[in-house]
């Protein structure tokens, strides 16, 4: 059955997963940070949260109360992210609508995305940066509003054994089903991932992992075969790379033939008042290099430009009338809802 398919996957994954334990960070290095954290939250039942094992029904109740206390805010900040045919999850982490998700949910910068809140509200968003190595990605709601959110936790404010809550839209968004809450414990941490036994499946990607104080500590990313292999991107990755991850896509303002894969990258239109126009790019110019990177066809140019943030001066090498010319363009900010590039 699929048993065989999944087995094949599982063996591959197991081999890969087997690599992981060798790389894992020592908790002791993170311990001082944790103590600081514990002090700062005196009102919380720190004793239960830090116990290795709940000792009584009262302890279990205290954990449940903690989940109940933050349940609504955790669910309200969990969104479904829809880009074309692709679906995933995300979590709003600021009032003005920044959303953490997984890189493989949004693909690349500068795309239009639909974001669904649990109450059925639909908000338009644009994808910002991605880091496919760690699977971190960010998008932002482009509409005005004050969005329900959960704050990011201080990086490394969690440790092995901590309780956590994962939410998201397993199997994709379903009408009438709110984000699905699952509980787990942190089974291991490295600088690049948090591993928990809060179960995930396709569609959960990009959804949040919370600590029991309702703060975002990670983003759902990938799974292994066992139900205790659920991997999340640590919130620290987003914090460290905030500037590059949160910048919108750059906009050049030229048109070409995306279906001409053999190249060259001939410009067929230049938008008025666009960065390309201002820099002197004209129709029938052939773009050879962008920021010293060779360009084979128009599609490559589009891909490359979307990786650059606006307001950056970039050297573009073009061929016009058999002469090579170098121009300097300052990219503008791309608005995915204008549909121009």
């Amino acid at each position: 059955m699929a048993g065989k398919v999944s087995q094949r996957i599982s063996i591959r994954q197991l081999i890969q997963l087997a690599l992981l334990p060798a790389l894992i960070v020592s908790w002791s290095a993170l311990a001082p940070a944790l103590q600081k954290e514990a002090k700062s939250t005196e009102s919380e039942p720190a004793s239960v949260l830090n116990k290795e094992l709940p000792e009584s029904i009262e302890d279990l109740k205290a954990l449940e109360d903690q989940v109940q206390k933050h349940r609504k805010s955790m669910m309200n900040a969990t969104v479904a992210v829809v880009i074309g045919n692709s679906q995933g999850s995300g979590v709003v982490i600021s009032k003005d609508g920044y959303i953490l998700t997984a890189a493989h949910v949004i693909g690349r910068r500068g795309q239009a995305a639909n974001v669904w809140f649990p109450d059925g509200t639909l908000a338009r968003a644009e994808t910002l940066g991605t880091d496919h190595e760690t699977d971190a990605g960010i998008l932002r709601i482009v509409e005005e509003g004050e969005w329900p959110f959960c704050a990011m936790a201080v990086p490394d404010s969690y440790k092995v054994g901590d309780w956590c809550i994962a939410t998201g839209h397993p199997g994709g968004r379903r009408e009438g089903r709110p984000p699905v809450i699952r509980i787990g414990r942190i089974n291991n941490v490295t600088p690049a991932m948090i591993r928990t036994d809060a179960t995930l499946v396709g569609g959960d990607s990009g959804g949040p992992l919370f600590d029991l104080k309702g703060r975002v500590i990670g983003i759902n990313s990938r799974i292994g075969v066992s139900t205790s292999w659920n991997l999340h991107v640590p919130v620290g990755i987003y914090e460290e790379n905030w500037e590059s991850l949160s910048s919108p896509a750059g906009f050049l303002g030229v048109g070409g033939d995306p279906y001409n894969r053999d190249g060259p990258c001939t410009i067929t239109s230049v938008s008025g008042n666009s960065p390309a126009f201002k820099a002197g790019v004209r129709v029938r110019d052939v773009i050879k290099k962008f920021d010293d990177k060779p360009i084979k066809n128009f599609r490559e140019l589009v891909e490359l430009v979307s990786q650059y943030a606006p307001n950056k001066a970039i050297e573009v090498e073009i061929v016009r009338n058999n002469k090579t010319i170098k121009l300097e363009v300052t990219l503008a900010r791309k608005d995915p809802y204008r549909g121009i590039r």
Binding site: S86, G88, V180, I181, R182, M193, R222, I223, S226
Partner: protein, 377 residues
């Protein structure tokens, strides 16, 4: 109501493997001593953690039974009353049903009736120390509360958290797929080849088997077999009796949806982890929780932290979800089951060697279909 099932989203997991590999490579560079994994026994399914929930199930486990069919533990069940009625999940049942109690006694059980809609079965046992279950008075389903699955041991079988208050799990639509090709050289339904990853391949059927019976239908010819199979829909679980060499063999087969289940990424991911229930769809108004359990852990009671029985686990639905029937709904179905009104037609999933009785009041035996004659040669 659910578009995603009929038209599954292109879920963003295509980078699962590469991302994992990349993550491993990335993490290799900082030479930091590895942290120790959380002790397995402290993890969610871990023995020590489950033991912390012992007081929750201390009473209910006396009303809980394990359902065995021969040497196979197939499901859990609950004692309903002092007359010996036991409620369990129907589609996991096979022949030779016995119930094991928390006092370590084991008794034979008779099949009384089945509710196809909610996949419930009513059994009858004789036992002198029955402890009927006490259901919660009202539906207590809530989101983000501990839920505890009682077994017959001191520690619960599984723990988890309630995820969705009430959800409809729609029936799987589409064409059912067994995954065999038949030998056209003979009129009898003889298997010529078995498709990889099909329901046939995981059921244990083999090339060369001659199919004699599909559920309760004797099938002498290929056409009869095809028409017998066409009565079923994807997700249905049925038995197939075959002739292999000179032996009769019985196999339980769960039909897939053509083209979808076997190769669909989401289906594969959902199977990663605990074994899913064969019947895991077609439930209206069930509660969803995240307890990791296997198909044979279904059919037993689900409790909240106060020890109140809030439902009956009815299916393991996927990697992240298990379903339970809430008490109010359950009480209606039990009444229906005990009324004797429900069809006692042979449930397709039970092999017909079992002793059948027609209803609870007059326990009349039903004539079983004759086993097909052995073909010559």
């Amino acid at each position: 109501m659910n578009q995603n099932l009929s038209q599954p989203p292109r879920l963003s997991d295509r980078l699962l493997l590469p991302a994992m590999l990349v993550a491993s490579i990335l993490a290799l560079s900082p030479a930091i001593a590895p942290a120790k994994d959380l002790d397995v026994e402290l993890q969610l399914g871990g023995r020590k953690l489950r033991a912390a929930f012992q007081p929750v199930v201390s009473e209910v486990r006396k009303s809980t039974v394990e359902i065995w069919c021969g040497s196979k533990h197939v499901a859990m069940g609950v004692v309903l009353d002092n007359e010996g009625h036991v409620l369990t999940k129907a589609s996991e049942l096979q022949s030779n049903i016995t119930c094991r109690f928390s006092d370590e006694t084991e008794v034979r059980a008779k099949f009384l009736a089945a509710d196809r809609e909610y996949d419930l079965a009513l059994l009858d046992v004789e036992h002198d120390k029955l402890v009927p279950i006490k259901w919660a008075n009202e539906d207590l389903a809530d989101i983000g509360r501990w839920v505890v699955t009682a077994g017959i041991d001191e520690s619960p079988i599984a723990i988890g958290m309630s995820s969705v208050r009430s959800i409809n799990i729609p029936k799987v639509r589409g064409k059912a797929w067994l995954g065999i090709e038949m030998d056209v050289a003979t009129d009898r339904p003889k298997i010529q080849s078995i498709r990889p990853f099909s329901s046939a391949s995981r059921s244990g059927l083999r090339t060369g088997d001659v199919i004699l019976q599909v559920s309760d239908k004797v099938v002498d010819t290929r056409d009869l077999m095809i028409s017998a199979l066409s009565q079923f829909t994807p997700g249905d679980s049925l038995f197939v009796r075959v002739l292999r060499g000179s032996d009769y063999k019985n196999f339980q087969v769960t039909l897939d949806r053509w083209g979808k289940d076997a190769f669909h990424r989401q289906a594969i991911q959902n199977r990663m982890g605990a074994k899913l229930s064969n019947r895991r769809a077609g439930f209206i108004g069930v509660m969803q929780h995240d307890s990791v359990m296997s198909s044979h852990n279904c059919g037993g009671p689900l409790l909240n932290l106060d020890g109140e029985v809030i439902g009956l686990n009815i299916a393991r639905g996927g990697r992240t979800e298990s379903y339970a029937i809430p008490v109010s709904l359950l009480k209606e179905r039990i009444e229906e089951l005990e009324s004797g009104r429900l069809a006692v037609a042979l449930p397709m999933y039970i092999l017909p060697e079992v002793e059948y009785v027609s209803n609870t009041s007059d326990r009349k035996e039903v004539v079983l279909p004759e086993p097909p004659p052995l073909p010559e040669n």
